[in-house]
Amino acid sequence: MTQTETQKEKIGEGDNVFSTDENIEGDLVRISTTGEVAEYMRNGVPDGLIALIDDSGGTLVAPIFDEFTGIICPSGTVRSHLGIISKENNVPCLMNAELDEIPDRVEVEYTADPRTTESYEDESKAVRANIWKIE
């Protein structure tokens, strides 16, 4: 096992909305209240932030959405509102994500194939994207 591999541990997976050319690494921050969003509106969103957004809607983080480097959402599907907005804004996004823990920094396999409508009718065609903890 190489040094790099020991620093990168899989902690979850999700359904990819669209594919990027490269995986993305960034600090992970959980956002679930209007107060947190208002604070980012006042102070700005730091570069390189991946947001763990608790709901699959598109309104909670509306004013700051396109300032994130990536999105991870534990609910919804790639056809949920958050998925639609991520595609429009070209902000990579995993929906229906399952995480064993919420680390400070992650790498997300946004290069994975996107989940298709067909795969909702036939689960065997579903492809999951990985989430790794970075230490």
Binding site: G58, T59, G76, H81, I85, N89, P114
Partner: protein, 529 residues
């Protein structure tokens, strides 16, 4: 506003109407189930979405039959469908499909709560199903369908003469050019703002098509509705600088196949949607007071870029102000606003008919309002999930039943309970939920005070009503209303066909005055390609 006379009804359900009503219940059951199950229950940390959906369903159940009767006292569903096909209104493929589903979900919610039986209020049930069917058949006259699903998830309802103008007038774009960047920013801002203005609901968005552009390219027509000060009271002031209420953007995609454009306007393409594949763009506004599609900022490439940048800025400002306004709302206000977005989704039938009444469409039925105490987040989520996955008690069919989309291992049912045939024996059922007529009752939201933004400028309520009653666009008049693509195919050299196309081509960059004889090859020549 004059109201239709309400009298006790002696209507009875014929066997023919019984069969057709159950046919619609079954058809909509299967399609709505598929649309819901590919998305899961939509939740939001800002809006109580599942509770407001249930509230809106019940509100629609109680008030839509009477609002539809008001509309029918002025005009027919076919007239409204024909109008909606020629312009861009809130009557999109999405809301047109929901015309039946929201009402039926309200009926099913009340059945599951034990407040209604499947054989109650059958005249209302037939009225709503029949209106929706007739409206949709006219609106989708080009494809002779009532749902995108019948076209394997496509909606090609625009006539050739409109598509030719869109095709001809698009500005070509390449990856990295200024116009494409401005358009991409505009589309993402408009989509995000539409979700917020619609309280987390997608009804403000529309995508229809695809329309074939040669051997490898396709056109998707993207629309955003109710963006400016208008019917939604919560957009007063915050959206004062948004100049257009509806915006329409035809998008040409290179080497792309849209394999899904579903009934809710969600699309999938091969290869995936990517702005680098966009090959052409246009921008229009349109509404129930317009005579078609009016170009927006398309006089020159520079003007187009500037217009998109201005729109993007106006929508971003409106979005941020609106977000701050909504963040201060009580849960009850969010619940009501969300419910009213849903139950007002078909309000443009009233705008077209000239029967629109702000209070009627933007206050809740009292009986629906009484459900609010049980609509907490947990009940809303769990009840809605059971309802939309066909797992509620009254939805279950017999043990041999298999539905179109559910797997074998799951005993399931039909989303909407059919009407039992036994009602034909003695006709002992209630006819209407409102035998004495319906009056608006409850709203805890601020009153509407601002103007209505239309293609004729900003109007007050009286001006809007007068303009709606008077407007009878040219395309709705004989002989034009009956000249469809099938007639043009055999009569394109006639003076009338030429006139029909020239009317649609007014204001076009390349097609003004060109008439009915053009092919796509002619259009390419006119564009100098």
């Amino acid at each position: 506003m004059s109201k239709p006379q309400h009298t006790k009804s002696d209507w009875t359900l014929s066997y023919e109407d019984f069969l057709e009503t159950n046919y619609h219940l079954k058809k909509h059951s299967e399609i709505f189930y598929w649309l819901c199950t590919t998305r899961t229950t939509q939740e939001s940390k800002l809006f109580p979405v599942p509770p407001y959906m249930l509230l809106s369903y019940v509100d629609s159940y109680y008030k839509w039959p009477e609002l539809i009767r008001e509309v029918k006292s002025e005009t027919s569903p076919e007239y409204i469908g024909d109008r909606a096909r020629e312009v861009s209104t809130k009557l999109t493929t999405l809301s047109s499909g929901l015309m039946t589903d929201f009402y039926l979900c309200g009926r099913q919610t009340l059945i599951e709560l034990g407040l209604l039986r499947p054989d109650d209020n059958l005249e209302d049930l037939h009225e709503v199903c029949d209106f929706a069917k007739r409206f949709n058949l006219a609106y989708r006259r080009q494809t002779a369908t009532i749902k995108n699903k019948e076209m394997d998830d496509k909606s090609n309802f625009l006539p050739e003469r409109t598509l030719q103008v869109f095709d001809a007038d698009m500005y070509e774009v390449e990856p990295g050019d200024e116009l494409l960047d401005a358009a991409s920013r505009f589309m993402s801002t408009a989509t995000q703002y539409a979700f917020l203005a619609h309280c987390e609901c997608r009804i403000g968005l529309e995508n229809h098509g695809p329309y074939r552009l040669g051997e490898s390219d396709q056109m998707l027509v993207r629309e955003w509705h109710d963006l400016a000060e208008g019917d939604f009271p919560w957009l007063d002031e915050v959206a004062a600088d948004v100049p257009h209420n509806n915006l329409v953007m035809p998008v040409k995609m290179r080497d792309t196949d849209f394999n899904v454009v579903d009934d809710w306007g969600t699309f999938e393409a091969t290869p995936n949607w990517n702005s680098e594949n966009i090959g052409g763009l246009g921008l229009y506004t349109s509404d129930f007071l317009s005579d078609g599609y009016e170009p927006v900022g398309m006089g020159s490439r520079e003007e187009f870029v500037e217009t998109l940048e201005q729109l993007d800025e106006a929508l971003q400002n409106a979005r941020d102000q609106l977000w701050l306004r909504i963040a201060d709302w009580t849960r009850e206000q969010m619940l009501e606003a969300g419910a009213l977005v849903y139950s007002s989704s078909i309000k443009d039938i009233a705008h077209i008919a000239g029967t629109y009444d702000q209070e009627e469409w933007f206050s809740l039925d009292e009986r629906a309002h009484q459900l609010k105490p049980i609509l907490n987040d947990e009940f809303g989520r769990d009840f809605l999930t059971a309802l939309l996955s066909n797992q509620a008690w009254n939805q279950l069919e017999n043990e041999y039943f298999m539905s179109r989309y559910e797997p074998q291992e799951k005993h399931n049912g039909s989303l909407y309970s059919p009407v039992p045939a036994a009602v034909l024996n003695d006709h002992e059922y209630t006819r209407r939920a409102n035998p004495d007529g319906w009056e608006p009752s409850v709203s805890n939201l601020p009153d509407k005070t601002g103007p209505y933004t239309t293609t004729r400028g900003k109007l007050d309520g009286d001006e809007l009503e007068e303009a709606s009653k008077e407007h009878d666009p040219w395309f709705q008049q004989e002989p034009w209303v009956n000249y469809d693509d099938r007639w043009v195919k055999y009569n394109y050299e006639s003076e009338e066909a030429d006139e029909l196309y020239k009317k649609t081509q007014e204001g076009s960059r390349f097609l003004e005055g060109q008439g009915a004889s053009l092919t796509r090859s002619d259009i390419k020549d006119l564009r100098g390609e």
